[in-house]
Amino acid sequence: MGQRTLLFDLHLALGAKTVDFGGWDMPLHYGSQVEEHHQVRSDCGVFDVSHMTVIDVDGTDACVWLQRMLANDVARLDDVGKALYSPLLNAQGGVIDDLLVYRTENGYRLVTNAATRAKVLGWLQQQRAGFAVNFQPRPDLAILAIQGPHAREKVAALLSPARAALIRELRPFEGVNEGDWFIARTGYTGEDGLEIIFPGDQAVAFFNDLVGAGIAPSGLGARDTLRLEAGMNLYGQDIDETHTPLTSNLGWSIAWEPAERDFIGRAGLLAEIEQGVQEKLVGLVLEERGVLRAHQVVRVAGIGEGEITSGSFSPTLSKSIALARVPMATGDRAEVEIRGKWYPVRVVKPTFVRHGKVLI
């Protein structure tokens, strides 16, 4: 038996088929992951993501410590409530984890992945020497992601006037406290929506309220196809410690300026640039019938080979799409081997769908 969130029994009561995800027993779907996917794109759905790790950081050195720890620069969070995405790198520039960091009244809140929890906490502990900083994991909190074009209005209708007002005012990539709730306009689906972090003892009641209001409970299956269509990486699959942000379509998340900010991994990334970045993470679209899957080989005529890191069927496009790491010189065509046969694929920027719109 894996670890379970506080909502596990409710998921089963709602008909969830569960799956192991990084040591957690999580809902895969509640009947049809394709229907859940369409619900989120067209209306909204709710995901229990309480398996993710919330870490609160404070102390007088919290800012300078995170400037050292993260490839992105928390100094860019010029106000309480602002958030940014960052890779957490090792000295070579390999990705230990990817996370969101919010600036809070007392410091910062990090939300990191589930499967990497022990590794990340160990790394933070190892790197804190010499800094006046404290960090505290918060397993007492539940996290729900309510995602889709109607998510904010539907959630606001269920909450107090103060919380409803806050939800209407929040701008993308902002997250603030309201009482003992932390409400953020962030997500992992490519749609508008909220991520709400709140006391675990309120989780069952709130999840029930959401489902009662017609918000579809949605599992990790739909979460995976939604994030893949949105071109968002999944840690452990598209990114890991043996690849850097430079070969992971995450160059935008490295804050190079100010040049004197010596974040962990900077030297490794600069060395990789000096030697010439060899690979890139791209999107693939299979025009024929079939399904692209992780680890299938990608062949680029006259250039070399790569590998699919995530592949699936895209419910929005009704065809198969993938993320793949391929040689830097790859153009707009490649081939993928599926069960011994080579299929032509189109190479695209890895954002297939955003805000309900097809981008490829």
Partner: protein, 127 residues
């Protein structure tokens, strides 16, 4: 609980087989199998004319989640495949016992007797 029609035979690999009046055998996947696979999005069909032994891989069903081989429950020659599945693979989810995958002319009809009956299949899947 899944639906297990009493007039069908089942392979442990979750295919169903139905002996037709003309001696041919129609093959599909069980309700239990489609539930386990989840949303089916692609079916790779065998070629008509191919001859399989019992247990040979005879096609692939891909759900959003994963690709799964389908096996010939008995030996025989493929005499027809359900081309409708190319455009609507979701039929395997919607009506697993209506949406057949291929039809065989059996090499040895007695092989059907080696398959599980409904009660045997129900026990095999622990229902």
């Amino acid at each position: 609980m899944s639906n297990i029609p009493a007039d069908l035979r089942f392979a442990e690999s979750h295919e169903w087989a139905r002996l037709e009046a003309d001696g041919t055998v129609t093959v599909g996947i069980s309700d239990h199998a489609q539930q386990a696979l989840g949303d089916v999005v692609f079916v790779e069909l065998a070629e008509v004319g191919k001859v399989f032994a019992a247990g040979d891989a005879a096609g692939v069903v891909e759900s959003v989640k994963a690709a799964s081989d389908i096996y010939a429950p008995i030996g025989g020659e493929v005499i027809a495949v359900n081309e409708e599945l190319a455009d609507s693979p979701e039929q395997l989810n919607e009506e697993p016992y209506g949406a057949w995958i291929f039809k065989l002319k059996p090499s040895n009809p007695a092989e059907l007797d080696k398959l599980l009956d409904a009660a045997g299949y129900q026990a095999a899947i622990g229902e």
